[in-house]
Amino acid sequence: MVELVSSGLNLPLPLAVLLLGGLLSLGVGKLAEWMNIRRLREAWIVLVSAAGLFSVWMLYQRVQAVSVIVMALWEQNPPLAGCFEIDMLSVFMAGSISFIGLLVAVYSISYMENEDRLTEFYTLITFMMAGMTGIVMAGDLFTLFIFWELMSLSSYVLVAFLKRTWGPIEAGFKYLLMSATAGAFLLLSMSVLYGMTGTLNFAVLSVNLRGVEITPWLIAVFCTLIVGFGVKSAIVPLHTWLPDAHPEAPSPISALLSGIVIETGLYAMTRVFFLVFEPGVFKLPIAFLSVLTMTLANVTALLQSDIKRLLAYSSIAQIGYMLVGLASGTAYGVMGLFLHVFNHSMMKGMAFLASGSIVHETGTRDLGRLRGIGKMMPITSISLFIALLGLGGVPGTNGFISKYHLFSAAFGSGLGWLGIIGVLNSALSMAYYIRVMQVLMGSPEEGFKAHEAPIPMVTVTLMMAVIIVFLGVWPAPILNFATQASKALVDGLLTYIGAVLG
């Protein structure tokens, strides 16, 4: 069952809500300045992201009925023109994006209270979410590229947002340079794909290229795609911007970047690889990159003394675990991947938000000087504690569930060594999480004072902690959803192609 919508100006609903909300947020910000209304901008952004989440839920019900929706503008039917193609996987990713977006929007109300240029800040967050939503719904590579650049541009500016100190500027420029180069590589791989097939539509690409003999051009496409998507998703030889950019950004932005932006890069990679190549082609290179990513990131994270930098390295390691699911090449492995994307967005998003509360109250990120913070900020510390347990994969948290599925997928697809390395790495990663826990629980030095964070921040972190434990004890709902999403990608490939080609 396929639904084709192609009359008039028809955007997918969540995307339309976020784009329009972002545009109007400029006007709302001006209005708040003129009329001097406090909290108007904050109320607007929370409203827009809540509307985004609600429209994703409406989309979920439609997709459950028809399985694939194709959307085109003004009767310009695909494959000739650009289009949106929405299946269960798109809905899953859009749901994760708008859920963490809503939480971050609520958190920013208190965190960014004393900053100026707030209109720009909220507008850019909305556009970043719109860009990610567009990426996960794109039906051809060029639509994907446009939204890719929308997401990237907003995130460059957001990383360098607090421009009164040198740190964010330096990190932002590094991020911009590496990401823009990756964008050029992506455009190059698109041009080669265009030369081979005459179009960029996912369905036509898949029909023409999947399963053909491997030519040098196809290898060139593979390498440029890995560079193009890999810089954004921080695969190890290309990760060097991440440990600078994520700690230097404002904490809500770190949570969004680590929680969902790098995973959107991974989503694009998974989607394009499954459409263009057979799993046998990319299995071993991805497995190799996965080992490199998790090992190097875990070892480097041991050496960090800055709490946000440590969490940033831990994000790279988690990307390594997710690549295990891609390397397995089965529907089960992809289910583990996307389950871990959602769980990681909860755990790492919350870890960044909780450490953001600590930074907000104490003004330092140095682990050595934060000793005993657990006594002064008990609720924040308990939530951070739960998030760290989840990231380490302790049973009873949702991190354990998704890691279990990832590594058993590796064993099931004949990559047993990869599963073993993954489990060992997961155990090693516990070493630096325990270091942070020690700092949280230690006894404070003389004269070290801090208060509990403001109520919206505490509420958000506590809520995410409850979600982590809840999904660790009763994972059935999210497991079902992730299974549907992975089936849409791997088993439903022919439906996805048939939706465009008929």
Partner: protein, 103 residues
């Protein structure tokens, strides 16, 4: 049909020049120019491939290149704005002085 080989050679040359510029240069504005050259190599490849189908020139590639030019222009604009901020903080636009963030 226009022969592809001269275009292919110039695309590869532009790509190598852009990457070399990114690796060797220390001036941040020149680094951004290197990124621009990389983008333009890809754009040129699109245009040259659009002439390869017999009998007509594919307008699809042209529309893509139009959009891509706008997109990379905005990226470079943000980059130049950051270069100005770097100059404010560091007093130089030499990329090798930007190494206070380590590990």
């Amino acid at each position: 049909m226009i022969p592809l080989i001269p275009f292919l050679v110039s695309v590869v040359l532009m790509f190598v020049i852009g990457l070399a510029g990114l690796i060797v240069k220390r001036d941040m504005v020149r680094l951004l120019m290197g990124v621009e050259i990389l983008f333009n190599a890809a754009n040129l490849f699109f245009i040259s491939l659009s002439t390869q189908s017999a009998g007509y020139i594919d307008p699809f590639a042209h529309s893509i290149v139009m959009m891509a030019i706008v997109l990379d222009g905005t990226v470079i604009a943000v980059g130049l704005a950051m270069v100005m901020n770097v100059y404010k903080h560091y007093g130089t636009i030499d990329i090798r002085k930007l190494r206070r963030l380590k590990w």
